[in-house]
Symmetry: C2
DNA sequence: CTGAAAGCGCTTACAG
DNA sequence: CTGAAAGCGCTTACAG
């Protein structure tokens, strides 16, 4: 133990009790204003630092929230989750909380180990950021702690979740294309790969249906194999006038491919992406896309987990966070547009 | 307080004392192997979770390390520091530690406030990740805690630091260009902007000197204004055969600019970058560049801070972490190359 | 308005 | 090999 200054030290110096010091420093009632002031002043002078561990042990609260990100989402170009985590940290701060990052190793996920965060009682709640295996979801369910899925959900698990509104987002983007006069619109993505890709496809599909447009098989282009590895996108014989891509990176790949085949964006084909990540600004022209509202997701997640910490029975169900369309120059307004 | 299971509960159940339970669970001496086993078994069955706060208060250690990142480095495309933080978290785990992220708001930096991390005694040490203001460096110096600068240093401050070997990295890259037969090599970067840009320039310069090449003013191209905002790079009248860029993003910008002017990479001009970030793979052809070894930086930082936690007088000085050249296709071997 | 006592859950000497 | 006692720094009743 370093020779830290404690409340007792301050109390001794001023000839009062440590109870009084505690009350003064926490702005509680029962200490005269003048004494409070004097105590705070001396505390400052002595370089007193509050010992949060002592408070924790009394209250049974750590004032930390754990954020678990599966290892596989932390690759080089995958900074999305890290940015979410960062926003979470910022918002936790408003509640006097801190965020502790726990990368979930593939091994622990496989072996269904509890995270150390949990078994050492380091946190008052856990946010699982990024899809974990079905099996591991059960492990999470067994943790006696407020918990929250962020950016994914499980239809069976009784755990609150917060996700981007993929369905509505793709629906809106497709509506926009139709509004611009497009009638032959393709969707790019392997819809069996992830639930977001599938949900975004369904939003696209709903828009088609609502506008009386017929979906044909040739309008669905795959972008990756079953293991998630990107493949070369096969352009259809009869070219659509517009493409809804399941994410910006794929939109970027598509643009490259279109250019290679002599198609120009947006003169010959219009393209929209999803995410508004770095790839959206690397094409020329930059992409019209759906911005995932990271800040809002983080804010909502923090609010939800804090509610659950103060009331463990609180249920918020599945919350959708809406994005917003970023209009850029990758969509052409056809003459047929009204 | 939630109705948590404590060591006392396990002790009562087995008719032993909590001291014995503590010893057993911590694999300390003084408990028979059979009792140890039994205690561990019961602990598991009862879903016992260790209360780290209680340990903290006894030992005066939180088993957390704080990582402070100035707010301005956490922008959209600036995931570098977040990736470093993530690696730090992974390595801290090996020591039984966790990482707590504290974004340093511009306001706190301006007003020279201690981070809450520190004033609440939440961590055993602090890693400052990313350059903070001169003034704030003094504030950091006043914190009575092991601390470490990561990815920057201050010539005056008596604080250990870990940085990429910018100087040697640029030196090596330039050597490589010369080895490929280039004699007229420009450097791209505002050398008054940051110390890394300057250090990289000096490495480039050393290579020129060593090879008897003369540096001319026209060979220094600025890439940003005094406020760090990228500007359009002005190509010199007499074009060099190769460019050393202070980072990949600038190399990317330069390639665009070269293409616009009808120069092809690497046929007409060779280009090398620095960082090996996403921009290095977005040019065509992809860039030969210096990979900053994030993993190594994080590992070194964690090792250093842990040493300082166990021995507060430990000084490691300024440690350089070497990168390695990633060879790709943006450099042409000239015929004059030996 | 002020403080003595008890307790949070654990660990560290020390005694048996 | 086992355990009673004390203590880490704080807060929460409760008494004065």
């Amino acid at each position: 133990m370093k020779n830290n200054i404690t409340m007792k030290d301050i109390a001794d110096k001023l000839g009062v009790s440590s109870v009084t010091v505690s009350k003064a420093l926490n702005d509680k009632e029962g200490v005269s204003d003048s004494l409070k002031l004097k105590i705070k002043k001396v505390a400052g002078e002595m370089g007193y630092r509050f010992n949060s561990a002592a408070k924790s042990i009394k209250e049974g609260l750590s004032y930390n929230i754990g954020v678990m990100i599966p290892e596989r989402f932390t690759g080089l170009n995958d900074s999305f989750y890290l940015r979410v985590y960062q926003q979470i940290a910022v918002h936790l701060d408003h509640y006097g909380y801190f965020g502790i990052l726990n990368i979930l190793s593939s091994e622990d996920e496989e072996e269904l180990n509890f995270p150390r965060l949990y078994s050492e009682n380091r946190v008052d709640g856990i946010i699982i950021l990024g899809q974990v295996s079905k099996k591991y979801i059960e492990t999470v369910e067994n943790m006696e702690l407020p918990k929250l899925f962020l950016d994914f959900y499980d239809e069976h698990a009784e755990i609150d979740s917060i996700v981007t509104d993929n369905f509505y987002g793709a629906y809106e983007l497709t509506n926009y294309l139709i509004h611009c006069g497009h009638r032959d619109i393709a969707y790019v993505g392997n819809i069996y790969s992830t639930s977001s890709i599938q949900d975004r496809f369904l939003g696209y599909y709903k828009s088609l249906l609502e506008h009386g447009l017929v979906f044909e098989d040739r309008m669905l282009l795959s972008d990756r194999d079953e293991r998630g590895k990107f493949i070369e996108i096969e352009l259809p014989e009869k070219m659509p006038t517009a493409f809804v891509c399941n994410c910006d990176q794929v939109a970027y790949n598509l643009c490259e491919r279109l250019n290679d085949h002599g198609y120009r964006v947006p003169e010959d084909c219009s393209v929209v992406g999803f995410d508004n990540d770095i790839y959206a600004t690397l094409t020329s022209p930059p992409l019209t896309t759906m911005e995932v509202d990271i800040e809002q997701m983080a804010r909502t997640a923090v609010k939800s987990i804090m509610e659950k910490v103060s009331n463990p029975n609180r249920r918020n169900g599945r919350v959708m966070v809406q994005g917003k369309i970023i209009f850029r120059d990758s969509v052409r307004k056809l003459d047929s547009a009204k």
